[in-house]
Every structure is written in structure tokens, then in C-alpha cells.
Subunit: 381 residues, 2 copies
């Protein structure tokens, strides 16, 4: 039974700082985006903290295994975004956005990744998941450990040429393996503990690293491998990266793993769950009750919060409303601006999205270190 698997090979988006003299004089200036010449351009950079991306002959350089992305049709879509964003976050620890440019993965093809994500078998010797042992019992079968594998390429620029100078491979491990005993049958679950999944992924990481080193051009670049633990399908947040390794040029086996104490939680805190910092949870709940008073009826105020250890690193607040008039949305957004500043944790980046059944109505955000929220009300002529 072949399963559809999440797979996104992310390619490296070139980073390029206008304030950075040695790069900005190049023809790959971000502001030339859209030129139709045959050359390579960069996308331009929104802010210093993001990588720029590669455009070739006017087209975005998409991932070699891009097609696999679309076979992700099930499960928890939060995993997808948090896996991709988390890979960027880990990469930024090693590949500075001031020096490196991002390109979507160009070295692993769709079929390679599909085979790697499948079970090992006679016909698929490269499978990273264990052979089937024939059992369909939740506790006795060999589960699918590795759910997704993604490549990101990091380039540097010299003499108007982009050179591959680093790579990040993300390996996503299941916390729950969902499986069926018969086609179209009921879905069963094999739970995988954090320790078990992590150990399996670290073993697979050695295999992956050795395979990558055999590919042309990948022998002498640093390759970062990061391990992600997927959230279960009923989770309202995605999973988290639990460890990463920086593998210097030439090394074909992981030397050292660095643990990552990342955690995503939802507010209000779900029963059976807890927040690393109860102050944040009560700040949110004060905010929530202020906001819920504003209109006669408001359907929901929830948030995703992200922690590194016990430190809050960011929050996404979602507010769902019934239909409101445009002036009500404008007033509500102004009110949120002052209320969020008053009640929500200070100094971390926070987004607030106000949606109705018609889609996003308004949006507020505050960057790290800022005091005031900026806002936008979506409009129409």
C-alpha cells in the first residue's frame, strides 16, 4: 500500500542585501526582477531576515521534485507550512541571509524522493522506511517513520555567477503513522514516541548524507540535516524541529547533533496540553475576553504560539467573525490594535488575522521589538 507523502524539495532563494556593497553592484540586483533576458536574476528582498530567490530566464527556479508537493492531500496542513518555515529558520543559523541566496532543491528528483520515502523492498532498495513485516496490528507492524524529505540549496554569488555553497535537508518523522488495513478501509494509527522517531531519523540522516556526498558537486559543501517531528492530524499547530547537524565539507556521517527545544502550542490551551509559560496563556485569555465583548457575537479567538525552550518567540492570532459591515471591520481593527498592544505579550512578533466566511477581512502585525501594531483592512471598489 503506497502512501502519498509530503515532500517538498525547497530550493535556495538567493539572498542579496542592497546595503551590501559587494553584492549590490552585481547584475543580479533584486530590483531587476522580471527582466526577460536569459540570465539569472534574484527576486529582490523584502527584509534583511529573508533569503532572496533565484529567477532564471524570467521564471522562478522551482524544485526538481516539485510535483511531489501536490500529492500531499491529507493529514495536517499545518505540518507543511511549519516544516518549510522551520527549515528556513534552521538554515539561517548556518547560512547567513546576508551572504547566501536561496534556491529550491535542484539535486533530488521527484522519483528519487518518492523512492526514499517508500518502504525498503526488493523493488525499492533505496527506501528509507522499514520493510513491511506483514503485520497490520498497530503495535506489531513496522510503521512508516519518515513522512517527508526536503532539499534547500544555498548559493553564493561571485563574478555574477551563483555557486552552490550549502544545502539543508529536512527529514520529517511521524509522531503518528496513519494506515489502512484495506484499501478505502478505516484508518488506524501506530504511535511513534519522540525518542523512537528521533533515533530512526538520525540513522536515516547518515544514509542520506552518504548518498548526497556521492552526487556530483555535493562532496565539498556543508550539508545541514534537520529533523522534524510531525504533529498528529488532529493538532491545531504543526510539528517542530527537534535536532539539526551541520556537516562540514566531505563528512559522510553525522558527527554531532544539536538539540532544538522548539514547541508550538495553541491558545486557549487545549485540555491535556500545557503552555511553557503560563503568563502568556493568561495574557491571551485576557485579550480574548476583551475582544469577545466588542461585538454582540464573535465566533472565535484562537492563537498559535511558538516557544524556544520557555521563551515565547512568536504568535499567530486568528479571529473568526460573522459577516460585519465594512465600518464595523474598520472599527474592530482599530480596537484590536490598541487591545493587542495592551494585553498580548510584548516584544515578540505577533500577527492577527480577522476572517469571515468571505475570507480575510483585516490583518494586523507587529515585528519583533516594535511596540505598535500596524494594520490593514481589506477593501474593494
Amino acid at each position: 500500500m503506497k502512501r502519498l507523502r509530503t515532500f517538498i524539495a525547497l530550493a535556495a532563494v538567493p539572498l542579496f542585501l542592497a546595503a551590501c556593497g559587494n553584492l549590490s553592484s552585481s547584475s543580479m540586483s533584486g530590483t531587476s526582477g522580471g527582466s526577460k533576458s536569459g540570465g539569472t536574476q534574484l527576486t529582490g528582498q523584502s527584509n534583511d531576515g529573508d533569503y532572496e530567490g533565484v529567477i532564471k530566464s524570467g521564471h522562478y527556479q522551482t524544485s526538481k521534485s516539485r510535483g511531489v508537493t501536490n500529492s500531499q492531500d491529507s493529514g495536517n496542513t499545518y505540518n507543511l507550512k511549519s516544516f518549510e518555515n522551520g527549515m528556513l529558520t534552521v538554515s539561517k543559523k548556518i547560512f547567513s541571509t546576508k551572504k547566501y541566496v536561496f534556491e529550491e532543491g535542484q539535486h533530488l528528483s521527484t522519483s528519487t524522493v518518492q523512492n526514499w520515502l517508500d518502504r525498503q523492498s526488493k523493488s525499492n532498495t533505496t527506501g528509507l522506511n522499514p520493510k513491511s513485516n506483514g503485520s497490520t496490528s498497530a503495535t506489531k507492524r513496522n510503521p512508516i517513520y519518515i513522512q517527508a524529505l526536503e532539499e534547500q540549496d544555498y548559493m553564493t554569488q561571485k563574478n555574477n555567477k551563483l555557486t552552490l555553497s550549502g544545502m539543508t535537508i529536512g527529514i520529517a518523522v511521524n509522531s503518528v503513522d496513519y494506515y489502512k488495513k484495506t484499501q478505502y478501509g478505516a484508518t488506524f494509527e501506530t504511535k511513534i514516541t519522540k525518542a523512537e522517531g528521533e533515533a530512526y531519523a538520525k540513522k536515516a540522516a547518515d544514509t542520506v548524507l552518504a548518498r548526497m556526498r556521492k552526487k556530483s558537486g555535493l562532496k565539498n559543501i556543508p550539508i545541514v540535516i534537520a529533523i522534524y517531528r510531525q504533529a498528529s492530524n488532529d493538532s491545531l499547530v504543526g510539528g517542530n524541529f527537534i535536532a539539526y547537524s551541520e556537516n562540514k565539507a566531505g563528512t559522510a556521517k553525522v558527527n554531532k547533533w544539536n538539540a532544538l527545544g522548539e514547541k508550538s502550542v495553541t491558545f486557549p490551551v487545549q485540555s491535556g496540553s500545557s503552555s511553557p509559560n503560563s503568563n502568556d496563556a493568561s495574557s491571551f485569555s485576557n485579550f480574548k475576553s476583551e475582544v469577545e465583548n466588542f461585538f454582540p457575537n464573535l465566533s472565535g479567538v484562537t492563537a498559535q504560539a511558538h516557544y524556544s525552550g520557555n521563551t515565547l518567540t512568536g504568535m499567530h492570532v486568528n479571529i473568526t467573525t460573522q459577516f460585519y459591515s465594512q465600518t464595523e471591520i474598520i472599527s474592530f481593527t482599530q480596537y484590536l490594535q490598541t487591545t493587542a498592544q495592551k494585553y498580548l505579550p510584548s516584544s515578540v512578533p505577533i500577527d492577527i488575522t480577522v476572517s469571515s466566511t468571505d475570507g480575510v477581512q483585516s490583518f494586523l502585525n507587529r515585528a519583533s521589538g516594535e511596540k505598535k501594531f500596524s494594520s490593514h483592512v481589506f477593501n474593494s471598489y
Copy 2:
């Protein structure tokens, strides 16, 4: 056959400038939003160009005829937003956002407005729409001219008290009256020319003004009446305000109408339609073709543009994509930032929204007079 009609009575949202000493010392400071005391607060102000709104005892002061809003279940939803926003725009010509505070309409009740929007008849002597003449022929029947009526209240602040100091009434006239000959039957259309609709609405405006003057507290305030012509249901933009009158305290009949040369168009320009300025249309089409090249497939790039006379006053660009990975969205958004700056008309406010079937993915905007677009990619943990 009673029809559901658009009706939103907009109430006045108090405007209040932090930079404005005489107001900011008051207890109604916007930053106190959310206080649960019995008093009146303001929502706080996002920017100088918006009115602040009124909060009473922690709740937003919703419109007295708010319920009617929800009976709007058909037609062109663009009309709804553009009618409400347009009323604010007209109001700002007379009631400065620095001095006035906005409150949703408190003087016209749901039943009053429902009766006014209905046909005149023995049982409904206040109906602003003509008596039925019995005909069901598209060209012979008396159409429903007035589709919506909305009230906005404008308050000033003195000694910590808000006083009604102005009002705007919006009257929306159909360009097409959609009607049925039998319940659940086919929909027929009676077209109403601009001249005919405008003349009818101006006559109705006199009636409305006289009625408002009889209400307690409304005799001696300026009442602005603005006439809006609805777009047809198949339009991809809303209608436009065509005229407004400023009626000084005490006047019970409109003295003078000011024409408004507003026009909303869609880009690419639809067949049978034209843009007031062909440069803008070709700027947009250059932008569109650059953007469409970026990804292997991109479903649509359209825009709503708004003109005052032949002068472009703003643009909303909508880009719909298939599912993309998070890194693709980040790169695409960076690319849009540079491409929009290069190709789209300069110095007017422009929004760009990137959506997929999963909802809004990213968003860019540039305020009037700015050069660079700022951007936000929607994210998840």
C-alpha cells in the same frame, strides 16, 4: 412580493487624534479601548485618515438597524463594500477625521429603513419606492429604484461627552432592478438609466431630509446626503457615488447637488468597457505578463482600479495561484514587490493580495505617496 434589500445603517466612529492635545487629554483616549467601566471609549485610530469608533460599556456601538444588513443575501457583494467605503470617503470631505468621531447610525431603526425601502402602498405610506402599477413587463413596470439606505453619525467631543454634530445618509439606486414574476421563478431585469435613477434618488433625498429634520436632535446638524449607483450583479467592481449634497442645519430641502465623477473599472479591461486612462491599463498588462511568467502555472491576475475623473486614485490587485510551497510564496512575494514597483502606476495606493484555494497567502501594499511596497507572507506554526 417583498424583496430583501441591502441596508446598512452606519454609525459614527469617533475620530480622535493622539497628536491632538485638546482631545488626547480626555478619558476617551483610544488607548483605553477595552476598559470595562460604564463609560464611553474610542476604538483608537490606525492612521490620521480614519475615523475612530465609539465603544460603550466595552461594546461597540452597533447600528440601530444592524439586523437588516444580514438580509442582504444576493446580488453583487462588491456593491456592499464600495457603498460603505464610499460613504466614508464622501463624509471625509465635510467631517474632518481630526475633529469628528464615527458612530454607526443610531437614529433609523431596522423597521423604519425596511419600510422606507419598500414600495409605497396603503399599508406602507412611508415607502420611498414607487407603487406597483400591476405590470410585470420589464419596460412597463415601476422598478424598485432605491436598493439601500444607510445612516452614519458624526460626533464631536467636548468635556468628555460625545455630541452628534453631523450625519451622512447614503441612498443606493439600482442600475438594474432584478425581479421575479412568480415566487422561485426566473429572474427578470428592468434597466434604470443613470439619469432616471439619479433624478429619482434626488427626489427621495428631499423626502428623507425632511423626515430626518423632524426627528429629535436632528434639526440643527449638517446632514450630508450621498447618492450611489449600484453596479449590476455581473460586475466585478461595485458601483459609484454620483452626487452628494451638504445640507446645513435646519434646511429641509436639498439646495445644491455636487456631482462626483467616480468610476471603478477592472483590469484587464473587459470587452465593452474602457479605462479612463489607457496608460494605466497598459501598465497593468505589462505587470500581469511579467508576473504570469514567474511560475509554471498561475491562475489569474486581475485588478480593480478606481478613478476620480480621469485620475487613478487606487488599485486592488488580486492574484490567484494554485497551491505553492511556503518558500515559493516567499520568493513570489519578493518578486512581486520589485515588479509592482517597476510596472504599476506610481504614487497611488495599491494593494496586492495573493490567494490560493487555502485562502490568502500573502499581501503587499503601498500607501499613497510611498515608493516601496511593504509585504506580509501569511504563516503558521
